[in-house]
Symmetry: D4
């Protein structure tokens, strides 16, 4: 019975400073009852660990990898090289170039090795994309995602209500 086993995701960040952004991703995975392991691991400073993480991810029961990195953000692409699992790339904005370097280094992958890229600092979307991908197999996640979308609608509608008050006061 597949659904007895929780889906497992491997989350790798290139630097511990990425945690501030990645936190929202982890919280969302947890909220959807997805098991995850998070690692600080660098494509450049710990390349052996990076390739090992990726090479063993499938046999360790992970179904998907999320990789966050900034600047010349090679981590998602490097992980993708060593696995047939889907890899989500999360570009982190660092102190120069406003995140453009991270984005291009992740999204412009050459033919053969795709990385599913989300927005710069888009940690929530990295988690939601993971959930959507895993929901191809795990029905409870599909259901959860639909519920999540319903809740978003309610929140937008609530904000819309609040706006009316705000306008009355401020305009």
């Amino acid at each position: 019975m597949i659904e007895n086993v929780k889906p497992k995701v491997l989350v790798v960040m290139g630097s511990d400073s990425d945690f501030t952004v990645v936190k929202e991703c982890l919280k969302t995975l947890k909220q959807f009852d997805i098991e995850f392991t998070a690692e600080v691991c660098s494509a450049h400073r710990t390349p052996e660990e990076a390739s090992a993480l990726s090479r063993n991810a499938e046999s360790n029961g992970y179904e998907l990898i999320i990789a966050a990195a900034g600047k010349a953000a090679h981590l998602p692409g490097v992980l993708a090289a060593f696995t047939a699992l889907p890899v989500i790339g999360l570009p982190i904005k660092s102190s120069t170039l406003d995140g453009m370097d991270s984005l291009l280094s992740i999204v412009q992958m050459p033919p053969g090795i795709p990385v599913a890229t989300v927005a710069i600092d888009g940690a929530l979307n990295a988690a939601l994309l993971a959930i959507q991908i895993l929901s191809v197999k795990h029905e409870f996640l599909r259901a959860g995602m639909k519920q999540y979308k319903e809740n978003m609608k309610k929140k937008v509608n609530q904000k819309n209500e609040n706006l009316k008050d705000l306008i009355e006061k401020e305009i």
Copy 2:
């Protein structure tokens, strides 16, 4: 027996001119024995059709959507709004701005509605990402993907051999 049913992918392109690029995506899906339907459908010119395609995709048996679009490329995001299926966005380079507009319009999705973005004109990678995502459920695709990666290695190695000859001749 899940594997008796072929995985089905919906491929939508914003303009028929995108077909030149998208073709490689379709060929790759076919090569992996994935069933697909391809549609020309515009987020702006045929918005009702676009939302209907997406809203009904799951019940029509599709497990994933690939959307290709250029310029202010809203199609992937708009489709993602109407479904809980994973959506892959393929930015198409058009006649100005070298594809940067297509890329940013697709990848910079706001929190809540992710689009899995691949490189500009990265049609092959859109297909391979689809395969990797579907392989979370369909084991034969995981196996196929591994084989594909092996073949890529062989091709690179073959090209490496050819290079030696080339160097002998030209350097």
Copy 3:
């Protein structure tokens, strides 16, 4: 008698956080005695509401739509898809890429569905453009706009006077 009826504008923002910028737009519409409704409505989180807002705008008496959005700012284009009313797009600068993503996602609309785009965070200009467009029909707005332009000149001239003092003091 057309001029008995106040012109009505629909203002839609993709997120309630856009209100800080959009406020100046609303104030200016009010100052010109234009009736408006402001809504928080997302092309991605509440797509049904977005299309309904736009589809019904004309029959609800709106003559023009202003849509503000950031990042992959699809809202203006999506609204434009569902109406024959003119749509003004206001790109909002968010936390990465300095507004370039919002701008390109709004202005680079494909052939067939234009969005009248103003500057990034150009909330005042969104309002003034609305007034200029509505003044094609509503003569009092044309007159108001001319007065507004005269006042701007006076303000610039006043600032020019102040500059002379400033220079005397500081240079």
Copy 4:
């Protein structure tokens, strides 16, 4: 009876080389039965003529101005300075920077003087935006625009049909 008078549009291009792009705009205006005058007039080489064109546009019966220009594309903004009519800016791609200079010079107008900007080389959209703006007053244009949108849908649907054949042949 307002509808007896054809709506009149002034189309100004900064250089005669822009005509190749602007042509599609003029054809579309004609197709919608809008009267237009087209002028080559430069904000920099013939500034007196430019300001005169704009200053007199309203009294000459024009209801809207379309201005096309490339590089440091000041023409739309300069025309907007001299009139209360709505001004549509059409950025033309020239030989360097892929149209980014034209776009930013037109869209980033300072507070007070908006220009309704369309996509780089978006001549068709400049015309359609003009039609949508004029339709605020001229009902036959609103009707025409709705028809146009219906036709676009049909064309997309037709292209969708053709795609099926194409796929059968080429994939």
Copy 5:
């Protein structure tokens, strides 16, 4: 005797908020004993005043114009259209796009009407360029410029000395 008459420069800024940057330009002109008039004048809000300023600049005894502006910075180009005097353009960084819009709007002038562009926020260089241009005629400015360059060298050398101390302390 030409040198009896002080050279006169017209400095125009598009907004009084530019004064913070332009101040350094004015101070430098004063330090070189150049007479200047500074005006707040907008190409878009006070276009008549702008063209008058430029058209009369030569007969009013100005030998050169410096124009500072931000965003779609048309002021330098517009002034250049109405005069045969050399015009220096100073792009001002505003709140979005990091000054790229100001720079391109000023430097990418079309053939026929050049603007001598300096760096974004380069107020000092605008003054120094003015001095170098005027020194073609006014010998005392050539001499002053040479002295200024000598002083810069001394300052750099002094900073170099200070660096040695700094390194001793901090490294």
Copy 6:
């Protein structure tokens, strides 16, 4: 009698491949009866020659330097370092980055050493700016420049006439 001596301009290009663009600059200088010397000289490959050219320019009777260069275009700035003459920088578009590298390398000069920058590949404007600068001293050039501006107007007006025919035929 100052006007007996022809004004002299030094034109330096970083590579002989720049000549294709620079040619129009030289033709325009000749047309205005300005004496010029043109040199291929590289800031990087022949730095001694470059500094010598610049250091001796004033004593060799040159009143102004025009420097054209592409990529990391240091030549204008390097020449400006060695002279108190005004230096005009002409960025040349080369095979990558669409001229953005050339432009930024020339225009973003640090405080103290300005370069009067014109548009990418703006060879005509480099010449016209030189003429405007020299006309501060040489009255015949001021007169010539005014005549040139008049001719431009006539040409634009002529093109405007031609447009009417074109429209009759093609629209």
Copy 7:
């Protein structure tokens, strides 16, 4: 006697299509009598081979690595991760984004793992930088480099001569 052993360089390109650009690099290495091995090896398609090449480079007698790659160009950074040898990165311009993606993916390496980056498509400079680096140890290369620089000067001077003829004919 160190100079008895030829310096050895490992040249790796991410795709055989890079050979067109890299060729000039190889020819230059050969011309300076540097022994080299050239490999097609991809950080993504053949990651094991890439890391092995780099890990064994030092023990195989290589003193330096040159790596050429396009798009999300991870190869130079990935090789740098596995070796203490200096790595030169050569960004290759591919079909979109004009080489900006390749450049940023190579040059923006995170702290700890530098890549010595040269210009986009700068194959000659990759070779010359290698020679300058190796000349820290190999004296004959220092001498060769000085000779090369002298020859460049002569070529520039020769081109300068040719320019005079060209000007006589064409201006």
Copy 8:
């Protein structure tokens, strides 16, 4: 005995304000027991000193030059013009354009004169690249670099441990 002599590096910064960034470079050189001289010297304000520094660097016993500069950052290229030593360029982010101007001015060097460019504000990497280059000759630096890489791994692993705690607390 070569290893008795400490390797010597010349570090030049274009402005004393660069010291804040460059400090980390100097500390790292010191930590590796490399002798260095640091100079404030400007390619534009003190060009004679700059060329002298570079021209004499080899005979003064330097084996490599590191040059840091911002904006139109010519210093690394100018130094490279006067020496056959390898030159490392360190682009400094200044107040506009987010460091893109500095980067392009340094990395896009024309054929013949390479500069080994590192990331914007990448002071640590400038030092490490210097060490890797010098280690071609100086064996103790190769050993030191390997040790440094080992330490980096340990630090990343330590951070990875810390992450587990952080996640326990915050997620």
